[in-house]
Symmetry: C2
Subunit: 290 residues, 2 copies
């Protein structure tokens, strides 16, 4: 493994296996051909040609479009392609910040190749103030073994998908409390530091994810406490150990590797002397809109 | 103006006006058609077809290739397309970190559309330690009015092109001394924080630049002193003033806008609530290798 291998793994995909999903003139997703071909029988609202999937013009508003997508999500459960619906909904956006065209159950997002958004917070401790960037430690979460996604793997202090109806700041406060027992006052000290994106083909479909990144500096005495069962335990690791673990193992949740690599770049652990430096820096920022 | 406008301005170009310049199987530059067509008369080492410019196969080594490029650079001076050669040489690289294929006078880099590299250092002061990212100030250089490039415009504390034969760290020490009177010990505290890139068409040709970025935290009492005549004066500006100036004016050297915008993103001044946030973040990292 190398740092770049993790970035490549998160960007491995072949669009030729997918059909564009266009709504109201916006390309909002990518659907596997096999699923695309069956959608008209699931709901007559889906209009499927060899080139693309669209919605029938009479589906003019948010609710009508969302209902059609909900039928498709239920179909995926009946077929066994999706284990269960989450009843947690993601917005389907023509572009980040725009009005949602419809909503989609989180469990079906990848099946429709819809762009999804999330927040990841690096919880870090500065162990020696005299050395800027020199001696940092990062809080590492060990994901619970009963998780459907990445059981037992390593994670950020706080991370979560971005559901419809919450602002990023509200979601951050919610996730900080659930995942790390961090109150709103401390969560508000998280500094937004950028975003990363990737397009990854999975068994489910196409994950087109954008992660908003935050750094949260914590006091050396602070200890996080998980409250929602997602994390088995937290450990504070020196940045050297974090970097070595990311570089040489597959222990981290696939996309958390990228969050940590971005942290290593921004805090000067990864330097331009690294042969892959420019490919790493550019690779973290690929556009997710095809 | 907007933040995104500055990024767009640095990426405005139309490759149809240029012909690829390939050496040893690597695409190393882009040359305007009018110049490409005249190169065979300048030096028989240039092999020009309607599709591309290459070098004659007998030019097998660094010195032979560099001599041919030097003839072309002298030709550009004779024609008045370049004011004067700089006798400062940039490496021509198939990729950052690789062995140089040849060298080229800095004054002729854009005419050949060769990828160039540089360093930019944000010199900043933390004005209130209790507020992480909250209250920063940035040292701003006013470029001397006699500069050929961007006279009188605003600049970073330290910036410079990357000449052949120096490492980035060596170049940083050299430029820190020349531009800001900063010694090697303090310069070594600059933290590498990433890189940005752009491809910009100018009167000269195609600027394909990658800037390695550093943050250097300075004590509140420190005052920089320019020693090479490039900077008329330095001022310490609160980050709010810096951001407002970049957002609303054309006062800054074209590419320094991008360095500052990257700083604003990394330090949480620019937040995901900014409608252009994702376009800004991705726009700072476009690949310069076509």
């Amino acid at each position: 493994m190398s740092f770049l291998d993790h970035i490549r793994a998160c960007n491995a995909h072949d669009l030729s296996g997918f059909r564009p999903f266009d709504v109201e003139g916006h390309r909002i997703g990518w659907i596997r051909h096999a699923l695309a071909d069956r959608l008209p029988e699931v709901d007559p609202g889906f209009v499927v040609t060899a080139d693309r999937v669209t919605l029938a013009p009479e589906l003019r508003d948010f609710e009508a479009r969302s209902a059609t997508l909900e039928h498709a999500a239920q179909f995926l459960v009946e077929e066994g392609a999706v284990k269960a619906l989450r009843n947690e909904f993601y917005p389907v956006l023509p572009k980040w910040g725009a009005e949602p065209l419809m909503r989609i159950d989180r469990a079906a997002v990848a099946q429709f190749g819809v762009a999804a958004y999330g927040i990841h917070v690096n919880g870090f401790v500065r162990q020696d103030d005299a050395q800027p960037g020199g001696s940092l430690a990062l809080w590492v979460g060990h994901r619970a073994r009963d998780r459907e996604v990445a059981p037992g793997q390593l994670d950020n202090l706080i991370a979560g998908g971005q559901p419809i109806g919450l602002s990023l700041a509200e979601n951050l406060v919610k996730e900080a409390q659930e995942e790390a027992g961090i109150g709103a006052d401390l969560a508000a000290r998280a500094v937004p530091v950028g975003a990363l994106s990737y397009v990854m083909e999975t068994q489910a479909g196409l994950k087109r994810d954008t992660l908003f990144l935050y750094d949260l500096e914590l006091d050396p005495g602070f200890v996080p406490t998980n409250t929602d069962g997602e994390v088995e335990k937290f450990e504070l690791w020196p940045l050297d150990r974090v970097a070595e673990s990311v570089r040489t193992t597959g222990d981290w949740k696939f996309n958390v590797n990228l969050v940590v690599i971005d942290f290593l770049v921004r805090h000067g652990w990864l330097t331009p002397e690294e042969p892959d430096y420019l490919d790493i820096v550019a690779g973290l920022r690929r556009p997710v809109q095809p």
